[in-house]
């Protein structure tokens, strides 16, 4: 059974080399063409190519500039979407601890191993009694939550 799964998953990963990966180079090839075309138009517009028709020259320059701006905009948008997709998700999760004896409350960043109603750090206010085995003086974690409250804005 397990070997069957293994062969299945191998076949699936072989399938993944689909034509999808060709798309991005093609996209950039098109963008390159667009830049070239815009530059030619721009140069023609600026030099005038022997005509003295200023309106046509203006239009050439404008078309060229629009082409350039829109290409750079598209590249920038692609960069941004890639960054958004790959960026480290910076999420700050906080742990709230409370002392059951003196009701001292402390908030600190989450550490691995924390869980609600588990033991946190020692209470800084309560005196450490002799012969303490550790647990008695420790605060209890009462809440763990995401800082900032909401994470919906992106939609």
């Amino acid at each position: 059974m397990v070997t069957l799964w293994a062969s299945l998953s191998r076949r699936v990963s072989a399938l993944e080399k689909s034509p999808v990966s060709l798309l991005v180079p093609f996209y950039f090839f098109l963008l390159g063409l667009l830049i070239l075309f815009s530059l030619i138009l721009l140069v023609q517009g600026v030099t005038g190519t022997g005509r003295n028709d200023s309106v046509t020259n203006m239009l050439f320059i404008m078309t060229g500039l629009t082409g350039l701006v829109s290409t750079f905009y598209m590249i920038r948008r692609y960069q941004l979407s890639m960054q958004k997709m790959l960026k480290e998700r910076k999420i700050v999760v906080l742990t709230v601890e409370e002392c059951s004896k003196c009701s001292y409350k402390a908030v600190r960043p989450f550490r691995e191993g924390d869980y609600v109603y588990g033991y946190g750090e020692e209470c800084p206010r309560c005196p450490k009694s002799l012969g303490d085995t550790g647990v008695e003086n420790r605060m209890v974690i009462t809440a763990i939550y995401l800082e900032g409250g909401r994470q919906e804005e992106r939609y």
Binding site: L23, R51, Y117, Y145, L146, G149
Partner: protein, 367 residues
């Protein structure tokens, strides 16, 4: 005075070329317009598909990275196999008793995965095994989204069916949103942080504080408390591992020896867009999600013994349900806690026995 001419209006060579281009473009759009639209839509889908693939890969990579500390190579291979794991639902042509069959199959699947993880990493405690299972499920979901979208993408490309492409493109934003939610869940699952879905379990955990805790059935704990003359059973999944428990089984067992006057259930529920996260909706019925087997059992008990089922939903989005619990949800938990205590006293009278079930994934929440 000469009126300025626009491109194509002057009778130069350029104008001529532009006129020809316009006519050519018109013809192209008439004959191949739909083809071009199809191409554009397919490109959008391709882009989304590529994103889904990256998300899936990132999730698998992240999981493997997290499991590195156990130093077992087999767990990686098991994860790869798990992504293709299938659970076949029972035949439902003759629906009588199908719930029990489904329950059996689902439990077998869970046991199998749990057993395998424990076999590979024997010195792992129960809560970590459950968290790893949750982590695996996130990768599984992402892989599933990717494969289904890829299937329809290839199919619509092969058949060049315009309708299929439009349908696929229409549901893509929602699919991407859900996939993003699963990707966001990885952090919580890997470090055992409470997630939004644990809101119901957290309400129960707060109410259970100070009571003596008993285990019952698979992954459930309960305690009995006395509040204003009422005997109240509080139940939740056993934390702090990412368990959802089997409240239906536990309720069936407990109701053999106890006759409950009423059952209260608290759970996290999906909100509609525009509703406020953490707001509370009260209602009637078995308030529990999942595949429906636990819901069935609870309804069976309630119906047979004519026990009223009251419920409370703490609302949130899918993303909030599977990512670390937000402050809004936590406020909802606080509110639900107070409201529940009030309702229990209001609806029951002295001497009654009441059941309170906090439903949800109890990851990061002990009792």
């Amino acid at each position: 005075m000469q009126t300025p001419l626009f491109l194509g209006q002057d009778n130069t060579d350029i104008g001529y070329i532009i006129n020809v281009l316009y006519i050519a473009m018109f013809l192209v759009l008439v004959f191949w317009g739909e083809k071009i639209q199809t191409r554009i839509r397919l490109r959008d889908i391709e882009y989304a598909l590529e994103r889904l693939r990256l998300m899936r890969d990132e999730s698998v990579k992240f999981t493997k990275e997290k499991l590195k500390k156990y130093g077992r190579e087999e767990i990686n291979r098991f994860l790869d196999n798990y992504l293709e794991f299938v659970t076949i639902p029972p035949v439902d042509m003759d629906p009588a008793g199908v719930v029990w069959k489904l329950d059996h199959i689902v439990k077998t699947a869970e046991d199998r995965v749990r057993g395998e993880i424990k076999q590979i990493i024997p010195d792992l405690d129960e809560s970590h095994v459950l968290n790893i299972m949750n982590l695996f499920e996130a990768s599984y979901a992402l892989n599933y989204y990717y494969k289904v979208v890829r299937h329809y993408y290839i199919l619509s490309k092969k058949t060049s069916s315009y309708i299929l492409i439009i349908q696929l493109q229409a549901i893509l934003p929602q699919v991407m949103m859900e996939a993003e939610a699963y990707l966001g869940a990885l952090q919580a699952f890997s470090s055992g942080q409470p997630i939004g879905d644990g809101a119901g379990a957290l309400v129960a955990a707060r109410l259970m504080r100070g009571g003596e805790i008993f285990d019952i059935e698979r992954d459930n704990v309960y305690t009995v408390k006395n509040i204003q003359g009422r005997r109240i059973y509080f139940m939740k999944a056993k934390g702090p591992g990412g368990a959802v428990g089997t409240p239906g089984d536990a309720l069936m067992k407990l109701s053999e020896k106890e006759s409950f006057k009423m059952i209260f259930m608290v759970d996290a529920g999906l909100k509609l867009e525009g509703e406020k996260t953490g707001s509370i909706a009260e209602g009637v019925g078995a308030i529990i999600g999942g595949i429906g087997t636990e819901k069935y059992k609870i309804e069976e008990v309630a119906t047979k013994k004519a026990i009223p089922l009251y419920g409370m939903i703490i609302k949130m989005s899918l993303k909030e349900a599977i990512t670390p619990m937000t402050k809004d949800v936590l406020n909802g938990v606080e509110e639900a806690h107070q409201l529940l205590l009030k309702r229990i006293v209001e609806k029951s009278s002295e001497g009654d026995t009441v059941m309170v079930i906090g439903v949800g994934n109890t990851m990061g929440i002990a009792q």
